[in-house]
Symmetry: C2
Subunit: 219 residues, 2 copies
């Protein structure tokens, strides 16, 4: 692929403040964006995420009330995606969820799954210290969701679609709504971030970034 075309897409992408409410993303294009999320890598291939696409305006309103920076985006975005991360219950070695992923998704035989579980337990407890404090496992999981978040924004930009990432919310409030209104188990899921997609209403400011030499060191 032509590098300049890809860089153009990275320059095209910006945190779109307000979308053209009349212009909707086609199903085919949105499926393409979701496919790049689905194919995203994650720690141990665990895919510790769920994507809640909220198109019902009343439901959007209920969810956008307690998050910061949502402003009018929930009203104008063509597609609004809440990215949920899986918590301790699902991510701890030997969990029912990880067992399912290893056996049913990756097709790993029972005996090898048992070995991997021992291995993962050591990694989680000793190497990566994910059991050292409450919430560390969930933070690990939340971190992974920023990979599909990035990929969705990049793939959207590559086909001329705008996006806006949002993470400023009170997690406890949001998880309560996701549980009471949408039936997500609070022991299994927490809201990691939100991404809005659509088409820009106006052109953004020029992009500003640190210089390359200020962010990279070669040794």
């Amino acid at each position: 692929m032509i590098k300049q075309e890809i860089l153009d897409a990275f320059n095209f992408r910006h945190a779109c403040k307000s979308f053209n409410a009349e212009k909707k993303i086609s199903d085919e294009d949105f499926q393409f964006i979701m496919e790049t999320a689905r194919l995203s890598p994650s720690t141990f291939g665990s895919e510790p995420w769920h994507f809640l696409v909220v198109q019902d305006m009343e439901k959007r309103k209920a969810l956008s009330g307690s998050f910061w920076g949502g402003d009018g985006k929930w009203q104008t975005a063509s597609h609004l995606v809440f990215i949920l991360a899986r918590k301790e219950k699902d991510m701890t070695s030997g969990s029912k969820y990880l067992d399912h992923i290893l056996k049913d998704v990756h097709g790993i035989p029972e005996e090898a799954v048992q070995q991997m579980t021992v291995f993962l337990k050591k990694f989680q407890e000793e190497d990566y210290k994910l059991t050292s404090r409450e919430g560390a496992m969930t933070d690990w999981s939340v971190r992974q969701t920023y990979i599909p978040l990035a990929n969705m924004m990049t793939s959207a930009a590559l086909i001329g679609i705008d996006s806006c990432p949002m993470e400023g919310f009170n997690r406890e409030d949001m998880d309560n709504i996701l549980s009471s209104e949408f039936g997500f188990d609070k022991d299994e899921f927490t809201l990691a971030c939100v991404a809005a997609f659509g088409y820009r209403e106006k052109e953004p400011h020029a992009k500003s970034r640190q210089k390359m030499e200020d962010i990279v060191t070669y040794i």
Copy 2:
């Protein structure tokens, strides 16, 4: 851009276990990959990262000793990138670093910077609760680094370059090495993740993922 070509790149990308040690990424291609990292979005445009590209084999050895899954990758990768995240000292509202970013990088006038600092303080303390426990601010920052991590892997794949993300290391050990051997201030930086780049030695297994309907809910 043609969607199928982009999806082909997402399918081409895999966690490359071992690289062809003879095949090096050209400077132009590596600069392209780094440019997609540089153009990546981050919370409040704070760019809370630094990329340490370790090409000296002795230095690679020193850094790879205490991280898990590094195996032979540090020996065969064309380019090995340690992604560092900025910590509390830099990321807390009103810090010298954020002041520099707002004023010198984004060119925001003094008065507006002061307003934004008040705003950010509220966000960090009340909304996002990043001051509620030690380390929460750093976790927030580490999370952001997974955006350039994803973008670097995706942009590499788009031009036929392989990669492997790694995060299994003892952070304390790594931060000590980054401080003693490379002069990074432990109060400012922590290792978030590592990405190796190069060209595959052999073809990977077929990719396995959950089905789309198992990871997405539409409302």
